[in-house]
Symmetry: C2
Subunit: 81 residues, 2 copies
Amino acid sequence: MARVVVNVALKPEILDPQGRAVQGALGRLGLIGVSDVRQGKQFIIELDGALEGERAELLHKLAGELLSNPVIEDFTLTVEN
Amino acid sequence: MARVVVNVALKPEILDPQGRAVQGALGRLGLIGVSDVRQGKQFIIELDGALEGERAELLHKLAGELLSNPVIEDFTLTVEN
């Protein structure tokens, strides 16, 4: 069993209106000193067996092409074998 | 400066059709042995100063009430001061 966590976030130079809305709401609800909020997606993928070799390569490729939009998003991929 | 990461995921007993769709797509694209996919949200919150005391309590409260829906979602909150 491997557990893979893929975090997808907008690139820093891309405006994040959802994050901005959350930042405003946190401030209105009394949380002071919030300088930035970014909202992203998280995928938790459970795999049979360990992630290695060609399957690891394919998952990295799919994380960059299916799970994230490479034009506007970056991703990080963490494996817990 | 504190950086707070709030991960929000559907409770395990709640069906996740988005995750199921991703699981199907990964399989069709050749990734074998995917037993489960869950899709959640991630908020990255940048704060001025350290997170402590009442402000920490308020952020925990807001993570459970504003950033997540306590009826169907769980959250984890990680602070990097």
